[in-house]
Subunit: 330 residues, 3 copies
């Protein structure tokens, strides 16, 4: 995947696609966070709609089942006044032997403006971005075990709302790092934004080889990893993505890697607990913590709409006037 770093930028280095956190600068991420801030107000209004993308056609191309992510993209698009086309891949022409590229080019010919793609293969969004017409933007809504960049940005925004800056933060990411595109995107984003330390915590079987090269400290014991951290990010056990028996049992997993009240006490007293959802209560996280005062899990969902509105608007070159918004902390 040569040139992937630049593929998502136009010649002026502005976002045109949104494919991966890797390859973006701190300035890019900061501008997304600032734009997100300006969209958080829309959801609070009585009429939750702005006409920014009126007359644009946005296609949800989900090759993997998803409720939450697809819903948030659909809601984000509708609140930007765009028309949304949901394409059900099972009943689509691909079952008539049409190739992915032919499908793309047909949607292009229908004057669609943006593709939101989720696909089981790593690199699927990049592949699409390489082949679409120049005026179309591609947003990666999760590609295999590679990246899920809009999720990482909503996580960064959530952190920003609770902490006074990224520079001094210690962040622990706990769970199935190996299969988690969320974790991969988060690690890149945290490092680009300059946090003090990113820790990953998992059994050896759920860690990618040479994970240290991503800029993280590796822990195998949760208690040690949680010492003094500001942010705890729990990952879902991705049952559907695991092939073979990498894990003994859910009970065993919770005993070793589940977040309990006792363990949470090891972190800083104002640490926040995050999870990309959907949560498996009692498997990776105790219910009392998921519903507790340090949990920001539902805020992540809320900010997910604003984050996606921001990214959709930016990549289509349609940002609202920012002058009235003070710049965000960094």
């Amino acid at each position: 995947m040569i040139a992937e770093h630049n593929l998502q930028l136009d010649p002026q280095k502005n976002l045109h696609h949104f494919l991966s956190i890797e390859g973006l600068s701190r300035k890019h991420l900061t501008s997304i966070l600032e734009a997100t801030h300006s969209f958080t107000n829309v959801a609070e209004q009585s009429v939750k709609k702005v006409p920014l993308l009126r007359g644009k056609t946005i296609v949800n191309l989900f090759f993997e089942p998803s409720t939450r992510t697809r819903n948030t993209f659909e809601l984000a698009a509708k609140r930007l006044s765009a028309d949304v086309l949901n394409i059900d891949i099972n009943t689509s022409a691909t079952s008539k032997g049409e190739s992915l590229l032919d499908m793309l080019h047909n949607l292009e010919a229908m004057h669609c403006d943006m593709f939101i793609i989720r696909h089981a293969y790593s690199g699927a969004a990049h592949f699409m971005a390489q082949h679409v017409a120049p005026h179309i933007s591609v947003i990666n809504a999760g590609d295999g075990c590679h990246e899920h960049p809009t999720q990482a940005m909503l996580d960064m925004f959530t952190i920003m709302q609770h902490k006074s800056g990224f520079a001094l933060l210690k962040v622990a990411i706990v769970g199935d790092i190996l299969h988690s595109r969320v974790a991969r995107s988060q690690i890149h984003a945290l490092n680009i934004l300059g946090v003090e330390e990113v820790r990953v915590v998992a059994p050896k079987t759920l860690l990618p080889t040479a994970v240290e090269t991503l800029g993280v400290h590796v822990y195998h014991h949760l208690d040690a990893a949680l010492q003094d951290v500001d942010v705890i990010i729990m990952l879902r056990l991705q049952h559907e993505r695991m092939q073979g028996a990498l894990l003994p049992s859910q009970g065993e997993y919770f005993k070793n890697y589940g977040l309990t009240e006792q363990r949470l006490a090891l972190a800083k007293s104002d640490a926040i607990v995050m999870h990309p959802g959907p949560i498996n209560r009692g498997v990776e996280i105790a219910s009392s913590i998921a519903d507790g005062t340090q949990s920001v899990i539902l805020q992540q969902v809320t900010y997910g709409i604003a984050t996606r509105m921001a990214i959709m608007s930016m990549t289509l070159g349609r940002m609202p006037n920012h002058s009235s918004h003070p710049s965000t902390t960094e």
Copy 2:
């Protein structure tokens, strides 16, 4: 289900949720009928749309398959200019082990304003209403064998359009009372609106125990029950809801409980024939009657849109100015 009677009302006794007819006052029902009247005009206009719920997000959460009811809610929402999210429960995150409550709280966090729920379990809508955030309204689109209150209100509106008032009416409800949430809601509504007599007609196997306590007269023979009635409500044979062999055969059922021309002649000459649909021709009703001059079955469908527009607007506190509409008969 303690407190269910008040759960759907706000402190000013206005409708906030719409969960069951039971527990509402005649004033509530009358105000719904009046609001429905004001919305019947919208469907007749060239542009069938009003901006009352623009920028609101309405979620159709159907845990049971349905075409007609879901379509009418979707159309009602779109004609109120709301954004609609249809959630397909089979492909939703519940298949990833997410609980119903977590699903709810996630949709809440996306700033949805209303949940329309159909569920196989009685009490599902109440359960949701007990747990959603205060600004969200829940509408029961059918819960198990309990209630289907919007159906009952469209039925009441249809009766009101044909009769000069409820006070002197004799109404017969015929068929599978035991499994019918529609019948249960209709019985409550008719009694609250003060009709003279509600008769239920069914074989013993299709009647709930102690059905008389609902305020009805029980008949086992259709001919006797139809004598002198003003309104005949036929119910669907709910094949999919019947467990075990409560009935001999469809032919036998029609012989004993099917509405024929001969039997219809026993009712008042201006009696109207109603059915919640979809109808089983030749099982519970003869085709000639379903399509005949006394049938108001398709009017029920038409009024169903206006009724749902009214209920959605009222529960969200967004009613049009009524001053131009004379109050309806009662």
Copy 3:
């Protein structure tokens, strides 16, 4: 199907339904082409939306799976600002034993304005048009092996954009004529518009009996048929519509009836290559031709939206002001 020729016209001979090309006059087809021309601009605008059908409800009733056609109708409707209801026939009330007619009448009662129907039975759209209320328009989106008239009109528009008129054109239609509703509609349209010659090319097993009576010249050898033609229309091998073994193999088919560079050279040097999609690369058409300079396959998709916007607007009697558009060539 007596009276089918007039069924789609109102007393003033204007289009009210759009069911088949057969039975329409050259004037009808020309007016559709002119209207399509006026809509091609909409897709090029930054805001791809006009308010022509605002407040109208358009129902997609697809009894056969389809991606492209349904998507283009949905996009066309949304770009005309209509509300769209997609009815999934598998989960619809027909599974509760509701007849097609009852379903229709229920949708009518919901004040829907237009039905777009695709159905496996020839004549399904005519049947619906015979039974809907007078204000409702029915559009045939493909009925069995009978007609697919909107596809034919977008094909005619595409030809018109590339050729200076229909009068002198030689057109070859290649492939599975027997099962192709597209071919049947194209043959009628080409003859009504007065082309010089329509050739059909297929093995005997894929030709209808007495196909000559449709006004075509029959060829069994592709090389001979392509001599000197202006337009080549390749058809899809309709695997799903073929019953029994009418064909030896895909490889064999390509050898005899696939469009290759060598064969394309037999046509006029400015011949255009068309295909209704989705294409089977290497089965009926070589990839190099599908993607080559003479291919107008993706233009067909683009013009499909404008064509459907035109037909939807015309049948509902809502055409834009044409005065500013010069009349098109003919």
